[in-house]
Symmetry: C2
Subunit: 204 residues, 2 copies
């Protein structure tokens, strides 16, 4: 079997269906809390059929995580060293919040994994993720040194952006439990976070 090149279109379709179902289940229950039967049912397939496309439960999980990592990092990659510093960062905040709104399952998948020590993706964190963050932190650092934004630790600034935006996906249950029933968390958050980061960053 040629693993590098997935062949038939039915194979492509089923792996997609499986990964989507697995995302739904894993993000809701975590790796250990999810069962192959649940994933199989959500995918509309039988359990042995799942294991025809993926060798194990863990293989599905790993495939999900590494396949999603790129998408997840994309907004940060777009932070432009040539742009206006405050607008670039606030724009990144907005993009990240939109991702939390539009892809909450992906956010919770990572959250589940990292809260439990990131056993399956620690190497990806220490490798490509760290490299990208270091690169962009350096950009923000030069902005700070040039006096174009407030002098704040760039790495921790990035952490604060991740924390505040992903909060609305990962802790959705808490946010909605506290806000009034008719509130629109993500719309309110967009206004708040844009103001908030703009105030913290701009030099006056």
């Amino acid at each position: 079997m040629n693993e590098a090149a997935p062949q038939t279109r039915i194979q492509k379709r089923n792996t997609r269906v499986i990964l989507d179902a697995a995302l739904e289940i894993f993000s809701q229950h975590g790796f250990r809390g999810a069962t192959l039967d649940q994933i199989a049912q959500a995918a509309g397939l039988s359990k042995p059929n799942l294991l025809y496309y993926f060798p194990s439960k863990e293989a599905i999980h790993v495939a999900l995580l590494s396949g999603l990592m790129d998408t997840w990092l994309d907004p940060l990659r777009r932070l432009d060293p040539e742009g206006d510093p405050v607008e670039e960062i606030v724009g990144y905040v907005r993009l990240k919040l939109q991702m939390a709104r539009d892809f909450p399952r992906e956010s919770r998948l990572f959250a589940n994994e990292i809260v439990q020590g990131a056993p399956r993706i620690l190497d990806q964190i220490e490798g490509p993720l760290k490299a990208l963050v270091d690169e962009k932190a350096a950009v923000i650092g030069t902005w700070a040194e040039a006096g174009r934004i407030a002098p704040l630790n760039p790495h921790h600034l990035i952490f604060s952006i991740w924390a505040t935006t992903q909060h609305y996906a990962d802790f959705d249950a808490q946010v909605r439990g506290i806000l009034p029933a008719d509130a629109a968390p993500f719309e309110e958050a967009e206004t708040f976070l844009a103001d908030f980061f703009r105030r913290a960053l701009s030099i006056r």
Copy 2:
């Protein structure tokens, strides 16, 4: 059995030992990922002995969550309406960050629970937690209206404090994977967050 008043001192000791062991295991693996055998071993007791003190695995989990909720909310309760607005809020940030540093297991326990939809504590969130947050948000709201801090949505300001501080406990694996090996995440975070919130809040 009188449930309202735990009797013997051996009962008190063992329930404490069990809850501490359960905190360790649940916070590392989540509810579904933790096993009674793991908890029993961590507590130095046999599995049937655990179930002599608690009727079920879920009962241990619930006891932990509700017992910790009070402690967890204490810093917010101390936010003083009569104090200096910016200093009160920055002080709250500091306290919350210290809790993340000193009680990461508690933080991760809640994180695990809420990420998965808070099925076991949704009523506590919508009840006492919401009440306290609404009360303190109102205080912050009057500060904002009086022009003593920047005009920011109080509820979302509180969310941003929770998100940024708990991030260092819940996503510790990621933070340490990205920061240099010799970094001191919590010390850096204290400086960063104090500056950050002070800049965002203060009127200049």
